[in-house]
């Protein structure tokens, strides 16, 4: 616990260092601002014109958070069903792969045509992005339950579902959190991409507009926001992990 007080600052220190090096390089090599603006320029722009993108942030946060939640739930459901019904697992795994390999440029028009320009097609895209790491991590976690616990449960007359809910599921919690961390990291970017499906506002819109207007500094503001949101989500998952998994971690003493 004490560690925290000290090491909690180190990422911030390293980030500061990173910005300083960046700033230094930018001015040393006279990198043009339209290519890679200096951090100070970016921050200045962010503070003076924050009203430009503030409404966008809220919309993207909503999208990312609800998409992650939905993606996680669906990822969990799919993993559970595929685990409990083994024939389905073999039969449906091609569709898992397909779901990750249909490019947005093909999917987007179809989604819009079927579901319009509203919230739903965007949610579908983020969900598609987020569910997959969770499903894969869970499927393997379910399978890797310690042998002696599985044996004990079966001998004691546990049904498949009891075996699942009392052993395989809790055993898959650590990989579940790995999967959630991966998905959380992708979710904000997924939201941004989904906004390219024709949104009124959102960081994705802000970014494409800025990019097409050659406002690289604003594009970087968008990136900073995306990164910060992702880190927040990631930290949230880590925090959740710490409260849920109280039993297994070595080196917590």
């Amino acid at each position: 616990m004490k560690r925290f007080g000290n090491i909690g600052w180190s990422p911030i220190a390293v980030l500061l260092l990173f910005f300083m090096v960046w700033e230094g390089l930018a001015s040393l090599f006279e990198i043009p601002a339209w290519l890679l603006p200096a951090p100070t320029a970016i921050f200045k722009e962010a503070f003076t014109n924050y009203q430009l993108f503030l409404p966008d942030v809220g919309s993207t946060v909503m999208l990312a958070a609800s998409g992650l939640l939905l993606g996680a739930s669906i990822g969990f459901i799919i993993a559970t069903v595929l685990h409990l019904v083994p024939p389905l697992r073999m039969a449906l795994y091609p569709f898992l792969i397909i779901s990750q390999n249909v490019p947005i440029i093909v999917l987007a028009p179809l989604l819009v045509i079927w579901f319009g320009f509203g919230y739903l097609p965007k949610l579908i895209i983020i969900t598609l992005v987020c569910f997959f790491p969770i499903t894969i991590a869970l499927l393997d976690g379910f399978r890797n339950a310690p042998r002696e616990l599985v044996h004990y449960m079966k001998m004691s007359g546990a049904t498949s579902f009891q075996l699942f809910s009392k052993v395989q599921f809790p055993n898959a919690l650590p990989p579940l959190f790995s999967g959630l961390k991966i998905s959380a990291t992708y979710s904000v970017m997924g939201a941004v991409i989904s906004e390219w499906l024709g949104a009124e506002k959102g960081i994705g819109v802000f970014m494409t507009l800025s990019s097409s207007a050659f406002r690289t500094d604003r594009v970087f503001i968008a990136i900073f926001i995306i990164v910060i949101l992702s880190m927040l989500l990631y930290s949230l998952i880590t925090l959740l992990e710490k409260t849920v998994i109280k039993w297994a971690r070595e080196g917590d003493q």
Binding site: L52, I105, P109, L197, V205, T208, L209, A213, F214
Partner: protein
């Protein structure tokens, strides 16, 4: 039909081809100035993102869209029922740009240089057409696929010249004080003076709801006419609608583009059969089309106001 009241307005959508820019000014003006309302329409302007404007228009998900003659030509060959109802800019303002220092002022200078494109066979055909007229050999141009990279990035590295729209990227170069040379397509070949961009709708709309198309084109036409007369004010309208845009770029671009919307045509939006035929003919001859385009079906002037 009672124009003016919110309930009676007909809701329609227009999908842009790209992020909002000065090609779209007339549309934003028509919305802001109430021209759409006047014609009984309530118009949503939609950014396309990845969702491919043309498919959305063709499928009827959006009633109107911004497209290009090249696209509509290829689309119609594949049976996509798109129809151009107005040319936004009368003449092709695109061309091959290069930093001044490279000294590329005419197609024959392309020899020995590197061209950055997006890998389409059209590009080589266009280069070849331009260069042949000056007895230059297109095979001496190195064609590199630069993907999604923009002009400024590309010419910093390996690339000598690329294909741009002057009204946007060219103006941006002026603003950056990076002087460029332009080799305009229209200066070197009439066949390449195609309409880009255009306002498009689908065949079903024309057949089932010509009134709406007419109303829409009329309002947009008013919008562009306003922009032609008041470039600076219409630039402000665009900036107000899309505050994320860079104001300097928009203003300067608007100024440059205003006279080019209508140019030498007798009214804004006018399209000529000959231009549609020429271009598609050229494409077909160069093996870029599988069959010949029925050019008269690809566009119509019938909705343009007198």
């Amino acid at each position: 039909k009672e124009p003016g009241t919110a309930e009676s307005l007909k809701k329609v959508k227009i999908v842009l081809d790209w992020a909002p820019n000065t090609n779209h000014t007339g549309i934003y003006v028509a919305k802001e100035k109430g021209y759409f309302k006047k014609h009984g329409l309530d118009v949503d302007i939609i950014l396309p993102g990845e969702a491919g404007a043309d498919q959305l228009v063709a499928s009827g998900k959006s009633e109107f869209g911004v497209s290009y003659q090249e696209s509509i030509t290829q689309a119609r060959i594949q049976g996509v029922p798109l129809v151009s109802v107005a040319a936004v800019i009368q003449h092709n303002t695109s061309g091959f740009a290069s930093p001044k220092a490279k000294n590329i002022t005419s197609p024959k200078d392309f020899e020995g240089k590197t061209y950055g494109g997006w890998g389409s066979p059209v590009e080589k055909a266009v280069l070849s057409l331009l260069m042949k007229q000056e007895n230059a050999d297109v095979d001496k141009v190195k064609i590199v696929n630069m993907g999604d990279s923009d002009f400024f990035t590309a010419v910093k590295r390996d690339i000598d010249f690329a294909w741009i729209y002057y009204a946007w990227t060219g103006i941006e170069a002026e603003l950056r004080n990076e002087p460029i040379n332009m080799v305009y397509l229209t200066d070197h070949s009439e066949k390449l003076d195609y309409y880009t961009p255009v306002i498009a709708t689908n065949e079903k709309m024309i057949k089932n709801d010509p009134e709406t198309v007419e109303a829409f084109v009329a309002a947009v036409s008013e919008g562009y006419q306003f922009a032609i007369k008041n470039p600076s004010e219409s630039a402000d309208i665009l900036l107000k609608a899309v505050p994320d845009l860079d104001s300097e770029l928009v203003k300067k671009s608007q100024e440059w583009l205003a006279p080019k919307y209508q140019d030498d045509a007798k009214r804004w939006g006018e399209q000529k059969l000959e231009i549609w035929e020429n271009y598609s003919q050229w494409m077909f001859e160069n093996g870029l089309l599988e069959k010949e385009l029925e050019a008269e079906k690809a566009f119509t002037n019938e909705f343009l106001p007198e």
